[in-house]
C-alpha cells in the first residue's frame, strides 16, 4: 500500500512515495543514526568539533549520540586549523576521525590543514598511509545568516584533488552515505545543507549503504535532464512538477557525490533527453556546474539539442536582508526558466 507523505515535509521538499509502516525520520536523525551505528561498531571512530557534545550540535545533528558513545564525542576549542589537521594525525595513527566543521564558511579558517595536508598526505608519501577521515557539517543558505554563514564551497574540493565530496539531499541518502563515508579508507568531505536537517523521509531500520559515486534518478522524464545536488534537488523536483503540468517531462538526477561523480548516469540521461540543466546553490561563476556542463558537451556534442543551462547563485556574497537573499540564491523559477531555455 502506498502513501503520500508530502504533508510531513517542509513545503516543496521531495515527496517520496513510501510503503505503509516504513519509518519516517528527519535528515538529522538519519545522519546521526549512521554515525552512531558506525561508532558502536568500531571503537576507532571518534567525533569532535565545536559545540557538538553538550547539545548535540547547533542544528541538532548529533543529538542521538549523547550519552551513547562515552568520551568518543567531545567539544574542542575554536581552533579550526588544529581541528582539521588533528584529524589527519589521528588517522595516520590509526583512528577514524569524524570531524565536524561547524559551518562550511569556517572551513576557510583552517582549510590549509585540508587542502595542503589531508588532501595531499597519502600522495606525497607515495601511498604509505590510508586516511579514513570524514569532515562533515552544514553548508548553504538558511534564514538570512548572511555572508559568513551561508556559503557552499564544495566546488573547491572538487577542483583541488585529494578528497571525496558528498552532498546528500534526503534522510535516506544521508544515512547511507555517511556510513559509506566512515567506512571509506580515504578522506571525505560531507556537506549537509542547513535547510535539510529537518526534512523527513523514509529510512529503513535495517542497515544499508549507498556507494560513493552513484547518482540517483529522482524522477524520470524524457524531455530535459536536470542535474542537481543537496537542497537544489528539491527545487528541481518542484520545478519538474510545475513543468509537468505544462507537458514538459523533466528527469532529475541527484548526483549525491561530486568526487567521484557519476558520469555514466548523467551521460545516459542526457543522451536520452538531449537537453540539460545543471543546478547548484553555490555561485554560478566557476561553480561545479561548469564542469558537469563541459563534460556533457565533450561527450555528447552532437546529441545536444540546445545549450546546457547553468543555474547557480548570483556572483556576490550572501546578503542579509530577505529580499536580497531571495534574489541572490537560485530558486525553483530559475530552474523552470532554465529548462524552458533548453526547449
Amino acid at each position: 500500500m502506498l502513501l503520500e507523505i508530502s504533508s510531513l515535509m517542509i513545503p516543496g521538499m521531495i515527496t517520496e512515495v513510501i510503503h505503509m509502516g516504513e519509518r519516517i525520520i528527519t535528515f538529522s536523525q538519519a545522519l546521526c543514526e549512521g554515525v552512531l551505528e558506525e561508532m558502536l561498531r568500531d571503537e576507532r571512530v571518534i567525533t569532535y568539533g565545536e559545540d557538538i557534545a553538550k547539545q548535540g550540535g547547533i542544528f541538532g545533528a548529533y543529538k542521538c549520540l549523547l550519552g551513547k558513545v562515552g568520551d568518543r564525542i567531545f567539544d574542542t576549542p575554536i581552533s579550526e586549523e588544529v581541528i582539521y589537521g588533528s584529524a589527519l594525525g589521528a588517522a595516520m595513527a590509526g583512528m577514524i576521525p569524524v570531524v565536524e566543521f561547524h559551518f562550511a564558511d569556517f572551513l576557510f579558517t583552517g582549510i590549509t590543514a585540508i587542502t595542503n595536508q589531508i588532501m595531499k598526505m597519502r600522495y606525497m608519501t607515495g601511498g604509505q598511509v590510508s586516511l579514513p577521515i570524514v569532515l562533515r557539517g552544514p553548508d548553504g543558505v538558511a534564514k538570512s545568516a548572511a555572508a559568513q554563514h551561508s556559503q557552499s564551497i564544495e566546488t573547491i574540493f572538487m577542483h583541488v584533488p585529494g578528497i571525496k565530496v558528498v552532498v546528500p539531499s534526503t534522510p535516506y541518502d544521508a544515512k547511507g552515505l555517511i556510513k559509506s563515508s566512515i567506512r571509506d579508507p580515504d578522506p571525505i568531505i560531507f556537506f549537509e545543507h542547513k535547510a535539510l536537517y529537518k526534512i523527513r523521509g523514509p529510512v529503513p531500520e535495517e542497515e544499508y549503504f549507498i556507494p560513493l559515486g552513484k547518482a540517483h534518478i529522482k524522477r524520470e522524464g524524457a524531455d530535459v535532464t536536470v542535474i542537481a545536488t543537496s537542497r537544489m534537488v528539491h527545487e528541481a523536483v518542484k520545478a519538474a512538477e510545475q513543468l509537468s503540468k505544462e507537458g514538459i517531462e523533466v528527469e532529475v538526477v541527484d548526483l549525491r557525490t561530486l568526487v567521484p561523480w557519476d558520469r555514466d548516469t548523467v551521460i545516459k540521461s542526457v543522451k536520452k533527453t538531449g537537453r540539460a540543466v545543471v543546478a547548484h546553490e553555490t555561485w554560478r561563476r566557476a561553480g561545479w556546474g561548469a564542469e558537469i556542463a563541459s563534460t556533457i558537451y565533450e561527450e555528447l556534442f552532437d546529441r545536444l539539442e540546445a545549450p546546457i543551462q547553468r543555474v547557480g547563485a548570483r556572483n556576490v556574497p550572501h546578503p542579509f536582508s530577505p529580499p536580497l537573499e531571495q534574489f541572490m540564491i537560485p530558486k525553483v523559477e530559475d530552474i523552470v526558466d532554465a529548462v524552458k531555455r533548453t526547449l
Binding site: E50, D75, Q148, V316, S321
Partner: protein, 331 residues
Amino acid sequence: MRFGWEDIPKETLVWMYETMVKIRKFDLAAEQHFLRGEIPGFIHAYIGEEAIATGVMANLREDDYITSTHRGHGHMIAKGADVKRMMAELYGKKTGYCRGKGGSMHIADISRGVLGANGEVAGGIPIAVGAGLAVKFRKSDQVVVSFFGDGATNRGAFHEGLNFAAVYNLPVIFVVEFNEYASTAPAREMIPVKNVAVRAAGYGIPGITIDGNNVLEVYETARMAIERARCGGGPFLIEAKTYRLKGHFVGDPELYRDKREVQEFWKKEPIGRYEAFLLKNGILTKEDIEEINERVDKMIEEAVRFARESPYPEPEDALRDLFVDDTGYDY
C-alpha cells in the same frame, strides 16, 4: 588598582551610565523583536557585558578605530553609532547602516571608526592590526581597540595578531570579553589557564585581568592602555571578566549551563552596580536615572519604529556594493 573616579569628568560618568542603559535596552528590544519574528538572522545579545564597551569607548576619540564581533551592538552604540540606522540594519532595511546587506553580525559604521562586527570568531583581530599599521605609517596618534571573546583567544589569529602588533609596536589594544562561554563551551574547559592575560607575556607586552562588570575599572584600565598606545607605547592585552547573561544567541536552549549559575551572575551585572555607585556618590539622583531610562526607552522605541517603517532594499540591490564600480561583474 586605585580607581580615581573623582578625576573622571561628571559628564563622562553620566555618559557611561546612559550608554550602558542604551546598550541594554537596545539588545532587549532586539531580542524581543527577533522572537516576534520581525528580525531575521541571528542576534547575539551583549546583555551583561555593557561595562566593557562603555568603559573602553569612553576613552576613545571619534577618529580612533575599533573592531567588533558577532556580539557587536554594544561596541557600535558605545562608539556613537545611530541606533535608528542600527535597528534598521537588524531589520534588513535599506536605511540600515549596511543597506540591509550585513545585518546584526556585520554591522559597521566606518565613519566612526567601527571597522565592522564580524561573524568569524577572531576575524576582527587581523583587521585591527592592519589599522594599527596604517596609523603607524601615517604617524598619527590614533589608537585601535580590538574586542573579542574568550573563545577567540584559542584561534590562531589571536596569536598571530598579538605577535604582529608586538613586533611592530602598534597602537592596538586587545580586549578579551571573558564571558565564561564560547557558545556552548565553558571557558574553564577550553582554556587551560585561569587568566588568558598571561598570554601577553608570550609577546612581551603587558596583560592585565580586570573585573569587566565594573565600568570604572574598565575605564581606568583602558585609559592607561590607550594613553600608553597613543604615545607609542605599543600594544596591550586587557582581559575583562564578565558573564554572558543571555543565551549565545537569542533562542539558544542553553542546555549546557545551570540556571542557578546564571542567576548568581545577574547579581553582579554591571548596570545595577554602577547605578548604586552613582546614587551613593551623589552623581545622579533617582530622578536623573528615571529620566535617562525614559529617554533611552523612547530612543529605542523610535529606532524600532524607524526600522519597521523603512523600506526593504530592492531585490536587484543584491548586485550592488561588491566593487566600487559594480556594473558588469555578475557573469
